[in-house]
Amino acid sequence: MAVRVQTADFDVGREIALLRGGDKRVGAVASFIGTVRDVNDDATVSTLTLEHYPGMTEKALEAIVAEAKSRFDIYDALVIHRVGTLVPTDQIVLVVVTGAHRETAFDACRFLMDYLKTRAPFWKKEETPQGVRWVEARASDDEAAARW
């Protein structure tokens, strides 16, 4: 189990291989990669800057991963979230879950993203032709997290 907050990009293949670590019990690896879109709320986005709360963010991610491990029958989970200024097509977040079967791996992966979206202290600011603006939280994200 690991969480990382970093400015650097990540190599998905390498991270998955490290998490699997040759564990022969693993029969399912589910992953999610969030990337920067060039359009949000009908505006063209040229850059996306992510801010976090050092100390609390890592602690919140660890709590979310621990919660996933207690709720789902999985072997391991990894969350990497980038901060700093990114541009469209850049990778923002990676969630990887290993387990014996796909149902629990898929569910745990989705749970981790839904909880991360509403409970981990990150904030997005986007640059558009109309200026710089903070991204507003979406009610649909709260609804997604409430399903679990």
């Binding site: 709360y53 202290p121 990150f122 904030w123 903070w134």
Partner: protein, 94 residues
């Protein structure tokens, strides 16, 4: 006789939109001691009384989240001397 009433000093941290609106990342807030337990709501009300951006950003209808010592809390949480209280908008990561 000198007034020796204890004071409560809190470390307040502002993040994201609030940091920009208030033009500061953090401050030390000293409160007179001896009163009833101080809650998060009390602190937010005190900051709101400063007016300007504080009144706007912390006003009714504005969603503000609070963490005490890196744990999310509700407005009725009690704060203690030395606590780190962070104020921020709803999170938008992922």
């Amino acid at each position: 006789m000198r007034d020796t009433a204890p004071t409560t000093t809190l470390h307040i941290v502002y993040l994201a939109r609030l940091r920009e609106a208030f033009g500061t990342t953090q401050e030390r807030l000293a409160l007179a001691g001896g009163a009833a337990p101080t809650t998060v709501a009390d602190i937010v009300a005190l900051l709101r009384q400063r007016g300007g951006a504080y009144a706007t950003e912390l006003g009714a209808g504005r969603a503000v989240r609070v963490a005490v010592n890196h744990t999310m809390v509700t407005q009725d949480a009690v704060v203690r001397p030395g606590d780190e209280l962070a104020l921020f908008p709803p999170v938008t990561g992922g």
